[in-house]
Symmetry: D2
Subunit: 338 residues, 4 copies
């Protein structure tokens, strides 16, 4: 655990420059800034299309280069972070930068279509783009159908789809992929008020984030949420030592959450629930079978994504069932209060 | 749609008699009672162990015969039901019959263990039985650890794990299996206040139900919920004709829900979400791609079970996003008011 | 093991009568004939379309009733067969009855298309029918393209896609489904010269067979092989007691084979290989880990089907690596010599 | 296509030096040598344990560092190779360097055990090491059981488990992972006499190879083959332009082969078969549906691995069914003759 600092760091991604200078991978990129644990960072992120999809006539396959999708803000070098430590990232606020978001279909991408991995002989589904008006004051996102006059307001619920660190084993992974390093998990649980815990694999952790969503459904069915650039304030902290964090975890005021990212989807479930059984054991002193039983009766299990290179499942257990157990040395509570 | 009737039918399963006389399958069983559509039925269901697991020393593999697990109350012959119709079952109340429930592990069954299908060389996990005190007045279920002094109260949230009709194609399916006929879906959404819609495959539908849970986590991680006998009041109604109901659907006051039961788990997701896209299309007049988009941004996707012969996923969309669309000719609203 | 008899039984399926009188399920059907173990049976089977697809303009969705697909010859009641015994079925000959076979695509069926379980928003692939000329004397099957002049001769390799007994737990399963009772496994290994072992679940076993293929690729990619009616001679024998046969096994002169039928496909693999490790252990006295190792270096693993309600994988180990071990009390060798 | 050259290049991996200097990834590594297309390369590869497992008492978890598993020989920079080109690698000979190979179990790795992705609550299976005597003259590999006196000779069938190029999208992937760049596919088809085709993603292709197996079963059930250092002679050639090679393909004198690496295993099947349908189309001029049909009746589908980070399936079609079609501009035939 690190002592809090008074630093507030403003970090501007180089959105105007050469797109090849931005980070499109976790790992494989020199850090752009170094932060001391406990630092409050104020920054912003580009949308997953790097702003190239603006109107309903902008189709991803025509305006985007597949090599430059999902740009990340970062990486941040976290001082003192060593393999085996746990990075804690608390989201203080996540707010759309503009009064507009976009969603699209993308050929051979999504959960209800043949894809490059679930390969079939079908032609791709039609490629379309939807533009959502975002009313930040009212907290609303307006769905506007393309083929009929249907409109409906949905609650604004901003989150980051992609949050992660450099992977282990010297790997460099596309920002489109989720895994044990975090990455493109696409869970709506990654909202303001939540702390995300990530196991550190390399010196400095190399944290980055992106892929802001004004809102998304669980599973991100068509593969694309209401994508928008985000103004985000977060606290980056470090938990030295302790049990290793094998897979990303989240903590809100009410819930502990584990994640698993794998295919098939039941393996993502198995990872998230095995992680939760282990965490409950650690926090309560219950035996393995007793923890398995408690998780079996209390876990919520929202699907996160069924569209990315691996699929993500979240397991949630209400803290109230853990009788006052304190996770991660109280990091969430401490960062929450700042 | 059928006219409501004033009948209230009390139906007693033959729990004292020969266990081989009870229904352990969907299909393959002569109906025990005939009901007119609109009938209110008051009945009860045995727990999935037919009451044979009573104390922490009762192990399933010792006290239960695998041929007689998960007894169903029914089948009910629904007058006038023909293949292609939709059965509507509205749960008015579901209440534990006793102040006690049980949960267990079962060798080679559950989501975090090798099973007969996910076959491996591991020995089974330990077989254990937990007994839960149920406080119906307070609405609580007490978890009591076996290997330490840990106790915690959980909210009572009664539901039926198994609800279904006779399958198509002349099949007879074990009450342990979920599928397009319903069956052992094990979703906590099957609670009082909810209407379940089931496609009719044979004359009379042959509806039955069982497998009461005082509560369960999403996914039913260890394979067994807080199992208990249930006193249940339900309305059995019939929707003649209309679009066929290919997979079970649910409706609560706030949500429309679709289900899919398949392996791998992503296929359960795909079924539930494809069904939801189709339902939203039908109810709103949106185009297929517009409905796909709306579902992508609004669906909740809780996992139901990752332990049965196939896995079940639920997709939920809030009715408020469908601008007043009325599903199934207003059946839920009508049955709700009775 | 039963003593061989001199009986040769000719059994004629009632192909001219009411299609509803034929068996389209495993289980749920009264036996049509009773056989003593060791009986040689001479019979024939209809093709999976019950002969309704005859020309390239016969489309399955137009000429077939989905309730009456894949008719089976049987069931045969095997005298003395009790649950826990093993049925042995040795195929002496399998020969196309006609000089013609057919293959088709079927909407939303096959491995490279969206299906009812791998549900998606695509339209079905085109529905087509191919007719194959079969030259029984030359042992050839002629592929004739529909959209160009391409023709090529393929080796005739007749087999039965569907071979099974009544399932356990009182289930009745469609003849389109494969599982631990056998059924629609669709493996090209089920050819003449092979013995198939099936665990008996009900008194009399209730064996039936059908779905002749003049040949098929491994995986049955489009879901349909070169389908044809078959003249088949088989020996039906019974192995009393002994280790239960949990999943269908096959034996040829050179190989022992196990099968698994499940989704996802890796579970089918896991079943087949776990079964093989157990069988090798039993036959050689090797420890579990030694048998795991030997199977790891010697197994062949052809995919059987990736199109049916569950997928089937076969594991094969050459008998020569088992140092003279004799499986199933030498049943294959004994039946082979008759 | 490139003109053949007379170069024969001897390349020695730096096996004596710092293990951190060897390549354990595809991508992310500076090339060690540059080759002109058409070059014959004579080299050798370390075994997957970098020689650290020598006796039955050497356990992987004790003698190996997980960061330094599966060292690769390379990368080779192929002159003129540009993204979109296809690398052709023809294996002239693959021979064990020593008269001994090893196999092991590895905790939480393999197909019949819980793993880090198929996460469960089981303890790992026992960790064991087997040593195989290799008789190169007789072409035999001797299996020697650990727990009993059982020995049996198996045919020597040398192959490379890991063959690949740098991935696309700037990714760097562990040599333990298979994918569209090749990598750890673990197919026994990668034997001498075979040509492997790999799509080029980066300038120079950055080809490397390793993971020699004296033999392996299909599926590599326990996760480890008969591992040994290999002396290998190969021809590295380049096919400029042409249809992109999305997934690795192989060609032998008799077969065309496609591969898919994904989870679940049916997605690996779908990739391999979709690729084969496309390849057959391209080579024969058949329509998509006609090619789908021909592949359905002719493909062999051996499983390659069900143990790595993704699983690999191979689809094989005999060239004789393609009526003299010539793949990849006759590259295999040309390299075969050198």
């Amino acid at each position: 655990m690190s002592a809090p600092t008074d630093e507030v760091l403003r970090f501007e991604p180089d959105a105007e420059g050469d797109p090849t200078a931005l980070a499109y991978t976790f790992g494989g990129f020199a850090p752009l800034v170094s932060v001391r644990p406990g630092t409050v960072v104020s920054t912003w992120t580009m949308d997953c299309f790097a702003g190239r999809v603006r109107t309903t006539s902008d189709l991803v396959s025509q305006v985007c280069d597949p090599r430059f999708l999902n740009p990340q803000t970062g990486p941040f070098f976290v001082e003192g972070a060593q393999p085996g430590d746990t990075l804690a990232v608390h989201f203080r606020s996540i707010a759309p930068r503009e009064a507009r978001g976009v969603s699209t279909t993308v050929p051979l991408f999504g959960s209800l279509t043949a894809t490059h991995l679930t390969a079939m002989l079908h032609d791709p589904l039609p490629e379309r783009t939807w533009v959502y008006e975002i009313d930040r004051a009212a907290g609303l996102v307006r769905y506007d159908a393309l083929d009929s006059a249907y409109q409906v307001d949905l609650p604004l619920d901003p989150m980051h789809g992609t949050v992660g660190v450099a992977p282990a084993l010297g790997e460099v992974r596309s920002s489109l992929a989720p895994g044990d390093w975090g990455g493109n998990m696409d869970t709506p649980e990654m909202r303001a008020g939540t702390t995300c815990y990530l196991g550190v694999n390399v010196e400095g952790a190399m944290f980055s984030l992106g892929d802001g969503h004004a809102r998304q459904g669980e599973g991100e069915t068509c593969g694309v949420a209401v994508e928008c650039a985000m103004d985000t304030e977060l606290v980056i902290d470090l938990i030295k030592g302790g049990p290793p964090t094998a897979w990303p975890r989240l903590e809100s005021d009410d819930y502990l959450m584990t994640t698993g990212s794998a295919r098939p989807l039941e393996d993502a479930f198995r990872i998230a629930h095995t992680e939760m059984v282990g965490w409950v054991r650690e926090l309560t002193g219950l035996s393995a079978m007793d923890a398995y039983q408690l998780v079996s009766q209390t876990a919520l299990t929202p699907v996160a994504n069924v569209v990315d290179t691996t699929y993500t499942v979240v397991a949630k257990v209400a803290k109230q069932y853990l009788r006052g157990a304190t996770a991660m040395s109280g990091t969430h509570e401490r960062l929450r209060r700042r």
